[in-house]
């Protein structure tokens, strides 16, 4: 029955993280607002030509997502550091991976909610024409979010406790996300351009492999990282 207790812990941590973030409302609003602001700035910097904006849409949405997600990841560990809650968290019995899984689940939900809004705003601002293949586009988005949350949570568990969390998290995370960004952006652009479907599917397979590889690898390594 141990897995049931573990699953209970995972849910408890995710629930706690989400309650804390969403109850404050300020946190979620700030993160989403940042995403939207970045979209606006990109639109101003790259536009106003409609064609140019349409071509830049995928990249712009992903950049806005990346930069706002970094905020979300740091915040998810900051709540533990503020009143020394991390120490209490580490005192509970049970395997450490439940802490990681709980944080992942919480961040996944949080970032997904954020991305929904950012994408909606991006579609409007950048004049994206929704193709018939939009379910696949959502699938690509989901896979991209999954990889982003896995690596973001992993690196934030260290960066947020270091001396330079604001710069260290993006510095560690962004180069690692290059394959994910390339895959998600290229596949999305292909689908938006009603282009060769088989091109997108190769990238989707890469995304799936990438997500699995890093999900497993970070799980294996996390216990070394979470100790004080």
């Amino acid at each position: 029955m141990a897995w049931r207790e573990d699953w209970r812990r995972v849910r408890a941590i995710a629930r706690k993280d989400l309650t804390t973030e969403l109850r404050g409302k300020a946190g979620f609003n700030a993160v989403v607002s940042l995403g939207v602001t970045i979209l606006v700035l990109l639109g101003l910097a790259l536009g106003p030509d409609a064609e140019a904006l349409r071509n830049a849409a995928v990249g712009a949405v992903w950049l806005a997502t990346l930069f706002s997600a970094v905020l979300a990841f740091n915040r998810s560990f900051q709540v533990e550091l503020e009143s020394g809650a991390l120490e209490s968290l580490l005192q509970y019995p049970g395997p450490r991976w439940t802490i990681y899984a709980g944080k992942l689940l919480g961040n996944l939900i949080f970032v997904t909610l954020m991305v929904v809004i950012v994408v909606a705003v991006g579609v409007v601002l950048f004049g994206v024409r929704i193709p018939d293949t939009w379910p696949t586009l959502i699938g690509i988005l989901a896979l991209g979010i999954a990889g982003l949350v896995v690596l973001g949570t992993f690196y934030a568990s260290m960066a947020s406790r270091s001396r330079a969390r604001e710069v260290l998290l993006p510095l560690l995370l962004f180069p690692m996300l290059v394959p994910l960004l390339l895959a998600a952006a290229t596949a999305s652009k292909a689908l938006l351009g009603a282009d060769l479907m088989h091109e997108a599917s190769a990238w989707i397979r890469l995304l799936v492999a990438y997500d699995l590889v890093f999900l497993i690898a970070t799980f294996l390594v996390f216990e070394h990282v979470i100790e004080a």
Binding site: M158, M176, V178, P179, H224
Partner: protein, 238 residues
């Protein structure tokens, strides 16, 4: 598995002495290999004598990969055995690897300017190498911003493992990204006439790499030995 912590290490094994002999041999080998290659290789059909930059650029790229591999191996070893020396070696390899990485990039750009007409063309290999450089930088930045030695070692090892895993994935994805829309712009294969020179230079540069990493590791061990000595003083009562 039982992990031995740094404080249980029989600390004062003397730090390795990197033999000057190795340094001299490696540098001489490099000079010899470079001279041989420059003098004996025929000019390329397209690039002319510019091609000769390959004799440093390509081996430097190979050394970058080898460094990443060393970082991976010793990061895994550190997580397995928690022996501080493994962390120091991984960090030394990362520093030296980052240097070779930077060298690869510089030479790639220097080659690219006359060959392509621009300093940067988002070529698959150079772009991948740039991303790898950023991964190295991230690793070194993490070490710079964490003060506790145990935590720094654990975190570096974790980041080293995860980062190294990404190396082939980065290469694959960037290459796909380029080949889908354009033919590769840098010569993927070199004529057989150049292979010997390339191999000789690779071996010579490997010797240089080993020398640099050992030297850097020796310095790191000396620093730690000093800290251990301070520990003995602090604990022994004054």
């Amino acid at each position: 598995m039982p992990a031995s912590t740094p404080s249980n290490d029989p600390g004062p094994a003397p730090p390795p002495r990197t033999s000057l002999w190795l340094g001299l041999v490696s540098v001489s080998a490099l000079v010899a290999a470079q001279t041989h290659a420059i003098l004996t290789s025929p000019p390329d059909a397209d690039m002319g004598h510019l091609q000769k930059i390959m004799y440093v650029h390509v081996p430097a790229a190979w050394m970058t990969f080898i460094s990443f591999f060393v970082v991976l191996v010793f990061s895994v070893r550190y997580l397995w055995r928690r022996r501080e020396n493994d962390d120091l070696l991984a960090a030394s390899a990362a520093e030296v690897g980052a240097t070779f990485n930077g060298l690869t990039l510089m030479l790639g750009m220097i080659w690219g300017r006359p060959a392509w007409g621009v300093w940067w063309a988002w070529d698959a290999r150079l772009t991948s190498t740039l991303v790898l450089f950023l991964i190295f930088v991230g690793y070194l930045a993490l070490r710079a911003f964490v003060d506790d030695t145990d935590q720094r070692a654990r975190w570096s090892a974790a980041v080293g493992v995860i980062g190294a895993i990404n190396v082939p994935i980065v290469y694959m994805s960037v290459t796909w990204w380029r080949t889908l829309h354009q033919p590769p712009s840098s010569p993927a294969t070199l004529d057989a006439a150049y292979t010997l020179g390339l191999r000789l230079n690779a071996i010579a540069l490997l010797l240089v790499l080993i020398y640099f990493i050992r030297k850097r590791y020796e310095i790191a061990r000396l620093e730690r030995a000093t800290e251990h000595a301070a520990e003995a003083v602090a604990m022994g009562g004054s």
